[in-house]
């Protein structure tokens, strides 16, 4: 057969995006090492949804898998985008924070344990308002504590993307992995249009959305450590490689002077073509390798 190599490659691929949260978390850990914590049979559900006529889910849309990645202890948390848009409630937020706290405690005890956070979320679950927002603040603290001892990898594969307060969690990560189908931003297009009008952001303009929030653009701005195809083995390999890099010498969210200079240099009097920033921001903050 004379099928081109890339076509064969494409056919061999297994989509990661088509997997649910539990499957996603499971394929990232070494075979035979996965153990789910607080699984659906433990039935710790949101205590706030039923009173609002919403059926809670037995795992609150958050899966926690403890296992090994590249032979090292790791914990993977995955948000289920299909349940309430992956939103952060009291329980789903506490599950992630507790998992990271425990990983940090193991690091202290001499068992380096890294974390992988799978982000498909619009941010706070508004039905749990302030407890969702508080949960994100607590998760951010847990990331700050753990990332000094072991890598914290955030992965946004799609299709929900990562928005709201959870984008700040990605901002604190040691490493960010994205697909082209993934999106990362603080405010989604609809919210911006509602707040500041269609001239500010036309939420129906799909190409604009991807040009700003899409994985390829984020990678081009130096905000992503690995841009991968929607393929289970590629994504698992990128996660492994991130963990093997260890704790980075400097985290993006601590590079204040660099980003402050970049913001200072922008012409704020007009809207930009997102591609303009690819040129002005291409002095990579992480001077080490780009894979």
């Amino acid at each position: 057969m004379n099928t081109p190599a890339h076509a064969a490659d494409f056919l061999r691929r297994q989509s990661f995006i088509e997997l649910n949260a539990r499957e996603r978390a499971n394929v990232l850990v070494d075979a035979g090492t996965a153990r789910e914590l607080l699984g659906p049979f433990d039935r710790i559900e949101s205590p706030w949804l039923a009173a609002q006529g919403i059926t809670p889910q037995a795992d609150d849309g958050c899966v926690v898998i403890k296992g090994k990645i590249a032979g090292q202890a790791a914990v993977v948390t995955a948000l289920e985008g299909a349940f309430q848009g992956g939103s952060i409630g009291e329980v789903s937020g506490a599950k992630m924070t507790a998992a990271l706290d425990l990983a940090a405690q193991d690091c202290e005890r001499g068992v380096p344990t890294s974390a992988v956070i799978l982000l498909e979320t619009g941010g706070v679950r508004l039905q749990e308002g302030n407890l969702g927002l508080a949960a994100i603040a607590e998760l951010m603290n847990a990331v700050l504590v753990l990332r000094r001892r072991a890598p914290v990898v955030c992965l946004t594969a799609g299709t929900v993307g990562c928005f709201g307060g959870m984008a700040l969690v990605a901002g604190l990560a040691s490493y960010v992995v994205m697909t082209r189908e993934g999106r990362l931003g603080m405010n989604g297009p609809e919210v911006i249009q509602e707040e500041n009008g269609v001239e500010e952001f036309d939420a129906s303009d799909r190409s604009l959305i991807w040009a700003i929030h899409g994985g390829e653009q984020r990678q081009a701005l130096g905000l992503v450590d690995a841009l991968v195809e929607d393929d289970v083995s590629q994504i698992a390999e990128a996660v492994r490689a991130s963990i093997l890099k260890g704790v980075p010498s400097t985290h993006r969210s601590s590079e204040i002077d660099l980003y402050r200079r970049r913001i200072q240099a922008l012409d704020a009097s007009r809207q930009w073509d997102p591609r303009e920033l690819r040129t002005s921001w291409n002095d990579q903050p992480h001077t080490e390798e780009k894979q």
Partner: protein, 279 residues
């Protein structure tokens, strides 16, 4: 009428620092000063509206790109300069609309700017600096995550002008497909949805509610009371772990955050269990 007087953040910044002019070099929307508090230099930071700000979507008191990176830099200054001695306290005065909702902001990765400020505050706390958030007005959504929510202790005024929430009413109603009236009815029954600061206090996240007589134009008595409460919160933060555990262990949290506490307890058991436990 003096419009500046109704900006509580600015009023309290002046009241607590004794300064009309903040440290130079920052955008006018960020007020920063070091002032004496109980005999100790303390850094105060506040975000205020600036009608002439560079970024159009961050002119009404929102935390935008410039505000977030300025806060980050000014908090880092404190942690960088501090030696092994006593750690300088940091007070975030909170009176902010939200994060900035704009296309420029998204393009230039406002999520990273917000993370940088939260990183600076959180790292200062973890390094032993007492970080206190004093909520004198609104503290909404990502704006509060950026400026205030990494504090060891959160103080807030018991006043109708104070609001801590994930999203303002109109937007929250729209997104949850309810009318504002329906949202308000629900919010009265469900504490984490409430917009009332007294309901927020029931969640266990708050260190204390304060009762100034005149939150808009602080009286000398108000100022003295708030200074004493700040000092007490700083002392309390110094005497406790530098984490956020107090938000789960407070009397109110034991009641309202039962589900969070159950998650921590059960996951801890299962983490350390060698056998199959998720059965």
């Amino acid at each position: 009428m003096n419009t500046e007087a109704i900006i509580r953040g600015a009023a309290w910044f002046r009241a607590l620092t004794g300064r009309r002019h903040p440290l130079p070099g920052d955008p006018p929307s960020v007020l920063v000063a070091d002032a004496d508090l109980g005999g100790e230099p303390t850094r105060f930071l506040c975000v205020v509206p600036d009608r002439n700000g560079r970024f159009p979507c961050a002119r009404r008191g929102e935390v935008g790109l410039e505000e977030a990176y300025t806060l980050a830099a000014r908090v880092r200054e404190v942690t960088r300069e501090g030696g092994p001695g006593r750690k300088q306290p940091i007070v975030a005065l909170v009176d902010l609309k939200s994060q900035a909702y704009g296309r420029r902001e998204e393009t230039a990765a406002i999520y990273l700017a917000a993370a940088a400020a939260a990183d600076a505050y959180g790292s200062a706390r973890l390094a032993g600096h007492p970080v206190i958030a004093l909520v004198v007005g609104q503290a909404l959504s990502g704006g509060f995550l950026t400026h205030g929510y990494q504090a060891n202790r959160i103080l807030a005024f018991d006043d109708a002008g104070v609001m801590i929430h994930a999203m303002h009413k109109a937007a929250a109603a729209r997104i949850t497909r309810r009318s504002v009236a329906e949202l308000e009815t629900l919010a009265r029954k469900i504490a984490p949805m409430s917009y009332d600061i007294r309901d927020y206090a029931k969640l266990g996240l708050l260190h204390k509610l304060l009762h100034p007589q005149s939150p808009d134009e602080p009286t000398p008595e108000d100022i003295a009371m708030v200074q004493l409460e700040l000092l007490a919160a700083i002392a309390d933060a110094r005497s406790a772990p530098f984490d956020l555990r107090s938000r789960l262990e407070s009397k109110e949290a034991r009641e309202t955050r039962k589900a969070s506490r159950l998650v921590y307890e059960k996951i801890h058991e299962q983490w350390h269990s060698r056998s199959e436990v998720t059965r």
